[in-house]
């Protein structure tokens, strides 16, 4: 049996290096055990930096690139583009078997040329499902992070608590930097946090939600908006929960309103239906539509 120790949960470089060596030595997938070393804060930070940079360059085919550098040793290594594209998201998945599964697919690819095109193959299907789950988790994080505004040393700071399912914190950082580069913001999660100070991203150890500021004036307006954009005459709870599952609710301020909005919807709709039409209470001046003359229709120069 061979044991591989990866430096941290998203150690994509470590996996690549090990996988290449294992293939070169003809080690079959069932003869390898994959482990992740327990986190050691400082070292982990540096790797996460590398990771954040890595995922922003989604186009660069690193895995195949590396194999080209060592062309002499690895002439026979088959790494199709489709696998490279799946490795990045799958590595971020929380399932411990991801490293072994990726290695098994790499192993099979050395013999089965068209494997990546077989979406119905059990291994490929599993990779697709894992990649999809990670992408969804990342997408939901861009949607459901809620910042609270506070003032620290005279400067506005935006704080959020979020609990991603997979190891996506570093991978999603470029999204928040690209959107809120001029703001000071911090997103904390149970496993790790990140802080953007306007120029640099800092990774922090995991935290607790209690560190969030309790109040924010903007949040009250948001709750008003949520209450009033809802149309009580159409309840579609399944559609809502499919896209906004309950597991996210405890970190969404507006979710507290859902139960009461649903409870009141029937009465409100009934009241609208039963209400007798009223004549307008205001004086109405008939509107005269002005016809635009064709000679000025092209503009008012």
């Amino acid at each position: 049996m061979h044991s591989v120790y990866l430096k941290h949960e998203t150690d994509i470089e470590g996996w690549r290096t090990a996988a290449r060596q294992l293939i070169a030595h003809g080690v079959a997938p069932q003869e390898v055990d994959w482990y992740v070393r327990p986190a050691q804060d400082v070292a982990v930070q540096e790797d996460f930096f590398a990771m954040a940079d890595d995922v922003t360059n989604l186009a660069s085919p690193r895995l195949s690139g590396v194999s080209q550098e060592n062309a002499a040793d690895n002439r026979r290594l088959m790494v199709p583009r489709q696998l490279v594209e799946l490795v990045r998201p799958v590595i971020l998945h929380q399932a411990p078997e991801r490293f072994g599964l990726l290695y098994r697919v790499l192993w099979r690819l050395q013999r089965e040329r068209g494997l990546m095109r077989l979406a119905g193959d059990a291994d490929i299907a599993r990779l697709n499902v894992m990649a999809k789950a990670v992408r969804r988790d990342m997408h939901k994080m861009t949607a459901f992070v809620r910042f609270r505004e506070t003032v620290v040393e005279g400067r506005q700071r935006y704080l959020a608590w979020f609990e991603p399912e997979h190891h996506i914190m570093a991978a999603i950082a470029p999204f928040f930097i690209g959107r809120f580069a001029a703001m000071d913001w911090t997103i904390m999660s149970p496993r790790m946090g990140m802080h953007w100070d306007g120029t640099m991203l800092h990774f922090l150890p995991g935290g607790k939600p209690e560190a969030l500021p309790a109040e924010d004036a903007g949040e009250a307006l948001w709750l008003s908006y949520y209450r009033h954009i809802f149309n009580p005459a159409r309840l579609k709870l399944k559609a809502m929960q499919k896209e906004m599952p309950k597991k996210y609710w405890h970190n969404l301020p507006e979710a507290e309103l859902i139960t009461s909005l649903i409870a009141g919807a029937g009465t409100r709709t009934q009241a609208m239906l039963e209400r007798m039409p009223e004549p307008p209470r205001r004086k109405i001046i008939g509107y005269q539509r002005k016809l635009r003359r064709p000679d000025i229709a092209g503009g008012n120069e």
Binding site: A143, L221, H228, R234
Partner: protein, 411 residues
């Protein structure tokens, strides 16, 4: 009046517009540290209300005072709903405050018509201009345009907006003049044509290779109210097909007419079933991504879509002679017509069958809705035999719980 109170009134006034998309525009970010915001191309839904609708944009009216008297509209001049008007700065500040907290992708601004179409349009455009030019806002902006406004104002709107829309409101010109006397169907279509020209011009490179000024990079969309008039689904879908073809709209939204506060006595008391709206969206999808023509989708009686099954299955049942389809041989256009097969799985089947024959197990691993597909497909290890022609097939298919569908309601 406090901003909070205005927000309540003007969100109430805006909620009957179904569109909340933040997709389809160019990609931008503010990594340079100037301004704020970014766009992703696919859009983000930041929340969902219990009515199943996505909340992606701050969707409000600048004011719900309105000179028009469209009977289906909550804001018509003859309605007694409370009225409010935001100042331009209030909308700008509200948008930025929500955006910084990551509540929204941007702003969808519409307005009741006050003073004149030109005056109203100018105010709406000014909000967008201030957001873009004074605050460097790079998030999404969708502006509702007023067809009667000066074309020059529409041109300015397109410079700041990611998407423009003009509501067609009702499927026929006759219904529009009956229910919305101040609106003019011809003017709406002229404006759509004009927008299309500008949007197209904004995409073409000029002869000299210079990029033309951007114009509404996310295109234009419209909304049709379903169930406020007597139009059948056939009429609605052929109007949509015409709009997609003629003005190259990105989306037609269907909004099932629902009870509103202080409704006009002219309106029907019964709102249409929500599932009708759902079927129209499915049919719309079939026209845009599955190669169906608007006239062949209508299979129900009296020009209506069947309510008790999805339109693709209903179509397949009426065209059983085309089935079973051999998944290993049929061309792409035929695969797209198989009930239960979506665009993604069609692509996967096409890729896989170049390597080896696709079998039943493959479909299971792809998580395709097998039970709904089996009567219509043929594989090396499956043939539907007599089940395809069985009289009981429609009943059997209706008994299969509907798979959740990715529909346009959220995009």
């Amino acid at each position: 009046m406090q901003v909070q109170q205005k927000l309540e009134i003007l969100a109430d006034a805006a909620k009957y517009d179904a569109s909340c998309a933040s997709s389809g525009t160019e990609r931008r970010n503010s990594r340079d540290g100037k301004g704020i915001g970014s766009t992703t191309g696919t859009g983000i839904c930041h929340s969902y209300a219990p009515d199943g609708r996505c909340i992606s944009l701050l969707k409000i009216l600048l004011t719900n005072f309105c000179l028009y008297d469209c009977v289906y509209c909550v804001n018509r001049v003859s309605s007694n709903v409370p009225r409010a008007r935001f100042s331009i700065d209030e909308v700008v500040q509200l948008t930025l405050a929500f955006y910084r907290r990551n509540y929204i992708e941007g702003l969808f601004l519409s307005s009741g018509i006050i003073q004149s179409p030109d005056y109203t349009m100018e105010q709406v455009v000014e909000v967008a201009r201030i957001l873009r030019e004074e605050h460097g806002f790079r998030g999404y902006i969708h502006l509702k345009t007023i067809p009667d406004a000066d074309p020059d104002l529409l041109a300015r709107a397109g410079r700041y907006a990611d998407r423009l829309s003009i509501n067609i409101e009702l499927p026929t010109a006759a219904s529009l003049s009956a229910l919305a006397p101040e609106k003019d169907g011809a003017a709406i279509r002229i404006s759509m044509a004009r927008l299309r020209e500008r949007i197209d011009a904004g995409k073409d490179k000029t002869v000299s290779g210079k990029r033309p000024p951007k114009f509404s990079p996310g295109g234009q969309s419209t909304q049709m109210i379903v169930g406020a008039d007597a139009s059948d689904d056939r009429t609605i879908l052929s109007t949509s097909a015409d709009l997609y073809g003629r003005y190259r709209l990105r989306r037609v939204y269907y909004s099932a007419f629902s009870p509103i506060p202080d409704a006009s006595p002219v309106l029907p008391l019964q709102s249409p079933p929500l599932v009708r709206e759902h079927r129209l969206y499915q049919a719309d999808w079939l026209m845009r991504f599955y190669g169906f023509e608007s006239h062949e989708i209508i299979t129900g009686e009296q020009g209506m879509l069947a309510l008790d099954m999805d339109p693709k299955t209903a179509w397949a049942l009426q065209n059983r002679a085309m089935f079973p389809v051999d998944l290993n041989r049929a061309p792409k256009s035929t695969l797209l017509r198989v009930p239960g097969l979506g665009v993604r799985n069609v692509q996967r089947i096409l890729a896989a069958r170049r390597v080896r024959a696709v079998r039943l197990d493959d479909l299971v691993h792809m998580r395709a809705p097998i039970n709904r597909m089996l009567p219509f497909i043929q594989l090396p290890d499956h043939h539907p035999g007599a089940t395809l022609d069985a009289v009981s097939l429609p009943a059997r298919l209706k008994a299969i719980p509907a798979v959740p569908q990715q529909l346009g309601l959220f995009m």
